[in-house]
């Protein structure tokens, strides 16, 4: 499978239906790369003509901005918007809620306005349109799955239903944690916490959240954010539940059932 970059498409005079914004986690983090590959596989199977920016993609600046470094954020935003506008990008899909939030909400006032969609929303649309066909009796049928709401998808952008609708299509048993949807508890990674040690406290946010997820008795913790994924995977390890509980992205669940 060949994943074209914008530069390559441009050179051959083509343009994609949608740009896949991979994000830093999806590009470099070994665990998140699997999510990226799963999602790219789905797009390819469904026959959506997409491209990536490849080496021209840069951090959106989200962790810089949230830690307080507006200068660095503005520099990243400037460069990214130059590239995106240079290619005349109209539509972007991303597997990272932080990239999603920045591209969708924070780039327009800086001159970068695009139709930005999170991969869970796109997956839901593709399922609804019948373009994604799931195997009868797929591997997750009857399994207990709990969905962990990403803050930047949920509270920040009001996306609660799309990921759940996708999970329902798997014929799995969806169990909710006590704190879910707008009451969902953060995984602990947002606001640039991912890149530093936690402040001292009684416990870690990701342990607290993972224990809540494990308490549902689910075999799968479904995530829709590479950072939540890392935090929950770590939490499962600390709870020594690696054999019983898997942390998987919605894209991985779908790719594994097509």
């Amino acid at each position: 499978m060949k994943i074209p970059s914008m530069a390559e498409l441009m050179a051959s005079g083509e343009s994609p239906e949608i740009l896949f914004w991979v994000g830093c986690a999806g590009s470099f983090d070994q665990r998140a790369q699997k999510i990226t590959k799963a999602f790219a596989t789905i797009l390819d199977k469904v026959g959506i003509k997409f491209a990536i920016l490849g080496k021209e993609e840069m951090c959106t600046g989200d962790p810089a901005r949230r830690s307080g470094n507006e200068f660095l954020f503005q520099m990243m935003a400037y460069n990214n918007i130059q590239v995106l506008n240079g290619y005349g990008i109209k539509k972007i899909v991303t597997t990272c809620p932080h990239c999603y939030n920045t591209l969708k909400n924070e780039y327009p006032p800086l001159g970068g306005t695009y139709d930005v969609i999170h991969h869970t929303t796109l997956l839901q649309q593709l399922i609804d349109e019948g373009k994604i066909k799931l195997k009868e009796g797929g591997s997750f049928k009857g399994q207990k799955i709990t969905y962990h709401d990403s803050c930047y998808l949920g509270r920040a952008n009001g996306i609660y239903e799309a990921p759940r609708k996708v999970l329902e299509a798997l014929d799995a048993e969806l169990v909710e944690m006590k704190r879910c949807r707008s009451n969902g508890l953060c995984c602990g990674a947002g606001g640039a916490q991912m890149f530093k040690e936690e402040e001292k406290g009684e416990t870690r946010v990701n342990w607290e959240r993972t224990n809540e997820a494990i308490a549902t008795g689910a075999n799968v913790i479904a995530a829709a954010c590479p950072f939540c994924n890392t935090m929950m995977t770590d939490g499962v390890k600390v709870a020594e539940k690696e054999d019983a509980v898997k942390v998987l992205d919605i894209a991985e669940l779908i790719a594994g059932s097509m």
């Binding site: 590009s27 983090d29 790369q33 830690s67 909400n105 924070e106 606001g191 530093k196 936690e198 406290g201």
Partner: protein, 437 residues
């Protein structure tokens, strides 16, 4: 005697109103110390927020039972104020139950409605007091509320119980006097709630009853005037400010951070020097160090906070034992703002007191623990954003003081040099794609 009472009442009412309006002007001045932010766009949505969030108390209904009790107190308080109108007019004109004659039977119906409301307010306040002091709900006994804030909360509930009791006692004795055919006490018909006590009072001598009735009347209205002047010093100010705060709530996505146009331009001029105007001056300040550097909306937020603690109970940092408490962020902001206000009162203008909101009131450790998850913003029933304050203070820490943990500095330099928060070569960004082909 009657004239003396009228004069006394007029003096009380006048001075209570004067003190209250003075304090209101002071609070308005303090709020306007904040930086400009235009929050008047999309009026239709603002009216909707005002109706749903402030009048409708939509967010309170996440917990329906508590919301209902709170609604009793709120509706009771608002509607019983119609009765206060009569009391004020009676006090000024030297009349007694002025509205009885023109309203007739409807008057009795009105007073009965007020009595039912008064009883529900009373019951709700007793339940709320026990939630704080007997059941000791976690968010009510946290360190944030040590000392005055806890006393303040109890003061409010006890005052409301006392005021409602006085109102009912006043009606009960009034009715007893009517039944004993006392002069000036015109027949109103039976009252629903206070009527339960009238029977016991009827056996008392008329003089004693008049004493009780007049005392209850005076204490009730003086209590209300005192309570009015207590509001600006108390968390209870939310009963007034919840309304403007809902109207002025930011309508942008909660995930969107406020853009710093000054920095945006700096970067633009750096990248495209030809665009820089000849007289371009670099921004003088980044983020907020003190209350005056915050948006006026954040300052209105601080005065609107009733310290309920729903934000902190939902905060991932706070619930895992970190120092950060969004409620305390709001309380600290108000405390500092009040201090700045007193400074201005004393000196005519703000004289540097060597203190700042950052560090002296809110510590770096608190600010660092925030995950920007927006749980506090989502929870707040009166549209407060503790997150806005946290993020503005963080900006000052990083851009003014270069105060960042080592790991963040590493993250910054990675983004700057490798265009990713980790130390990977930008050439490897699409390695995953090569692996797939």
């Amino acid at each position: 005697m009657q004239l003396l009472q009228q004069i006394l009442f007029t003096v009380c009412l006048g001075s209570a109103s004067w003190f209250f309006s003075k304090k209101v002007r002071e609070i308005r001045r303090n709020i306007l110390l904040g930086t400009d932010e235009d929050l008047t766009d999309r009026p239709a949505e603002r009216w909707r927020n005002l109706l749903l969030l402030a009048f409708g108390q939509k967010k309170m209904f996440k917990n329906p039972l508590v919301a209902l009790l709170h609604l009793f107190i709120y509706v009771g308080f608002v509607i019983i104020n119609l009765e206060v109108l009569e009391i004020v007019l009676d006090g000024l004109l030297g009349t007694h139950r002025l509205f009885l004659e023109p309203l007739g039977a409807f008057y009795t119906f009105l007073i009965n409605s007020f009595e039912v409301l008064a009883a529900t307010v009373l019951i709700a306040c007793v339940i709320f007091l026990s939630r704080r002091n007997v059941l000791k709900l976690k968010r009510f006994i946290s360190n944030d509320l040590k000392g005055w804030p806890r006393t303040d909360a109890n003061n409010i509930l006890i005052t409301e119980i006392v005021l409602m009791s006085l109102f009912l006692l006043m009606n009960a004795t009034d009715r007893a006097l009517q039944l004993n055919n006392a002069e000036h006490y015109h027949n109103t018909g039976d009252f629903m709630i206070s009527g339960l006590f009238t029977g016991y009072l009827q056996s008392l001598p008329v003089n004693t009853l008049v004493m009780i009735e007049r005392t209850a009347w005076w204490l009730h209205i003086l209590g209300i005037l005192a309570f009015l002047n207590y509001l600006p010093w108390s968390k209870h100010l939310h009963i007034l400010l919840a309304f403007p705060n809902a109207w002025y709530a930011r309508l942008t996505s909660t995930g969107e951070m406020k853009n710093m146009e000054s920095v945006q331009n700096e970067v633009k001029y750096m990248m495209q020097p030809e665009l820089a105007p000849a007289d371009a001056t670099p921004p003088s300040k980044f983020g907020a160090k003190d209350v005056m550097d915050l948006s006026w909306k954040s300052l209105l937020d601080a005065y609107s906070c009733t310290e309920c603690g729903r934000c902190s109970a939902a905060c991932p940092a706070n619930t895992t034992g970190k120092l950060l408490s969004p409620r305390k962020i709001m309380m600290s902001t108000r405390d500092r703002l009040e201090e700045v206000g007193r400074n201005i009162n004393a000196n005519g203008t703000f004289v540097d007191d060597g203190k700042k909101l950052l560090n002296d009131y809110i510590t770096v450790e608190e600010l660092r623990a925030c995950t920007t998850c927006n749980a506090c913003v989502e929870e707040c029933p009166v549209s407060i954003s503790p997150l806005s304050i946290i993020l503005e203070l963080r900006r000052s820490l990083i851009m003014e003081d270069s105060n960042a943990p080592g790991e963040w500095n590493a993250m910054f330099s990675n983004i700057e040099n490798n265009f990713a928060p980790w130390k990977f070569s930008p050439d490897e960004r699409d390695k995953w794609a090569e692996e797939m082909s």
